[in-house]
Symmetry: C2
Subunit: 358 residues, 2 copies
């Protein structure tokens, strides 16, 4: 493994028949990986395993997320840099939700051959642009790439693994919410869904076929759309906020809003054996988003968390706003898991976020 696999192959080819493009990829991955350091990573790419160390009194948080073309991203819509960024952001966001500090990432990539090889050396390869987005976010969060694997695949797929450290017994779990806790969320909701809707609308007006013939590319997104697409293409994992909540607050439970508020809140309620009331008027809806996008959109990668009313949660954590959006209540079998309270009364809120095999 640890790129040993992907890399072994390449170093073989070096000794047999040198293939510059693949050698270049190996070197680029190793160079990109070595630009970011973390004291917890003792041995990175190049052996059968990577070796990671914890500080005294810590335990390790590990998460994996699989992204597949046409399910989690679209080669025809997304710039390769954004796919690389989002792949890593998904994993970092899971660490954030536990209150863990990142130590290292592992990336397994399945790619069609033409996405790895240069088309006559003219344009950067798709995979190089993917890695550009990946390594840029990795550097921002001190998360070196410590290994992974690479294989030829008829479709593009990326599996990301993150390892992080958290004080023993101090991880924020989904299962810790208690009746009468208040419910909070960081940042704004619905921005990613609004961006995705705008991207889909714009892309459907373009000639898309050329991308599949020109894997170095992706559509060129006009500058006027950059701002509205930002939350969708380049979400920021809330690592600092998770660390603060786990170490300096009395937060009782947390989850990241990856599948959508309605769905992720349902997970938190199910794991904690509680129910929740959401105040529609309190939701920090992204200016470009609808209520429905804020409730069900997903991929905002904000933190949804609970804390006792006496916990004194600040209005911002690390310059990111924190909003109280509801409360945890006792679960009653005849009652809905989540209700939405609006000016017009109270209604059950069904989870309508991201579904696998849907």
């Amino acid at each position: 493994m640890p790129y040993p696999h992907g890399m072994r192959a390449t170093s073989n080819q070096k000794s047999r028949s040198r293939r510059p493009t693949e050698l270049g990829l190996l070197e680029q991955i190793r160079a990109g990986a070595s630009r970011t350091r973390n004291p917890g990573l003792r041995l990175g790419i190049g052996d059968d395993c990577a070796l990671l160390r914890l500080r005294q009194g810590e335990e390790m948080a590990v998460t994996t997320d699989l992204s597949i073309d046409a399910r989690h991203f679209r080669l025809a819509w997304h710039p390769p840099q954004a796919i690389g960024h989002r792949t890593l952001a998904r994993g970092l966001s899971d660490l954030a939700a536990m209150g863990a500090r990142p130590i290292a990432a592992f990336l397994s990539l399945g790619l069609p051959r033409e996405f790895v090889q240069n088309a006559k050396g003219r344009k950067p390869r798709w995979v190089e642009r993917f890695l550009e987005g990946f390594f840029s976010l990795a550097a921002a969060y001190q998360t070196p790439l410590a290994g992974g694997d690479m294989a030829e695949s008829p479709i593009a797929a990326a599996d990301i693994v993150l390892a992080g450290a958290v004080r023993r017994g101090k991880a924020l779990l989904r299962s810790g919410a208690r009746a009468s806790d208040l419910l909070y969320v960081t940042g704004q909701l619905g921005g990613a869904a609004a961006g995705l809707a705008r991207l889909a609308q714009w892309a459907s007006g373009q000639r898309q076929a050329h991308l599949y013939l020109n894997p170095s590319g992706g559509l060129r997104i006009p500058a006027r759309l950059q701002s509205i697409l930002q939350p969708h293409l380049y979400p920021q994992p809330r690592i600092a906020q998770g660390l603060w909540l786990a170490s300096r607050s009395r937060a009782t439970a947390a989850i990241d809003v990856s599948d959508g508020l309605s769905t992720d809140l349902a997970h938190l309620c199910e794991e904690s054996g509680v129910a929740a009331e959401l105040d529609a008027a309190a939701l920090p809806i992204h200016p470009a988003a609808t209520l429905s996008q804020a409730l069900h959109g997903g991929e905002d990668y904000e933190l949804l968390f609970t804390a006792p009313a006496s916990a004194n949660i600040p209005r911002t954590i690390g310059s990111v706003p924190v909003t109280r959006i509801g409360r945890i209540v006792r679960r009653r079998s005849a009652k809905p898991l989540i209700v939405l309270i609006t000016n017009h009364g109270t209604q059950p809120l069904e989870p309508q976020g991201w579904q696998h095999f849907s």
Copy 2:
């Protein structure tokens, strides 16, 4: 992540419109995962991350391996149980090569929809048989499934992550071999390649098309082939041998024979900055294998390791034979990295094992 993803979806569906087949899969994964325990796993499936603990003075070894249909296995040839077994065995073997004890596994699966859903409830689903093979090996090596992800995919792909523990500074690295060390291998070589060749020969005589119409299946392999196919279909990772070598021997370097002896020995030499001489007559060739299969076949998952001549390496470790197959020598720029010594003289040995993007 940790199945949360796969699982979240399923638990949603429970609250919306119950889908028995997917609910069954969730329950089967959780049940299978909970059958195996490991004291290092503090929190498994069900939250954003799993939580793992090390003992005092240990560090964590992490490895990932990506397997894709038609590249690493063939749905048309391999029983689903064998694909599940081999997926986990690849990861465990990387831990073995470092001398690490397993703590937990993470599995990301991309599968076509029809591989997950029951065809009228008649036959076990493909994924159930895959998990049967996976969980059976997991139980044998005290390696609980701690998380992962699942997504619909047009092709079958499995990414395996293993986390294990090793005494700080005691991991067996590829880079520790020194000139005058002796070279050893566990078990026999070429058995997996011989089995694969036999499987391919047999499968090419069958009508294969039905498999793709009947994803619960795979070809039914006749009993007379079971024995010859065993090393290919159900390889055993050398965990006990790796643990012994790291803790009780003076082994200087190790790697697992996953890509083939010629290729993996080249990696070891490159990482250690040394060269090697192999004694053809000493190689423990599997009775069904050719010399070429033993040298280049791959997927034997035996341990290739080095130790000083004075190290007193036993003939067996945990009932698995250990054979001295050559020696480490100084690297000279004009000389080949590896030479094979036969009765007819000495010849350069080029790495001809597994290639990615080949």
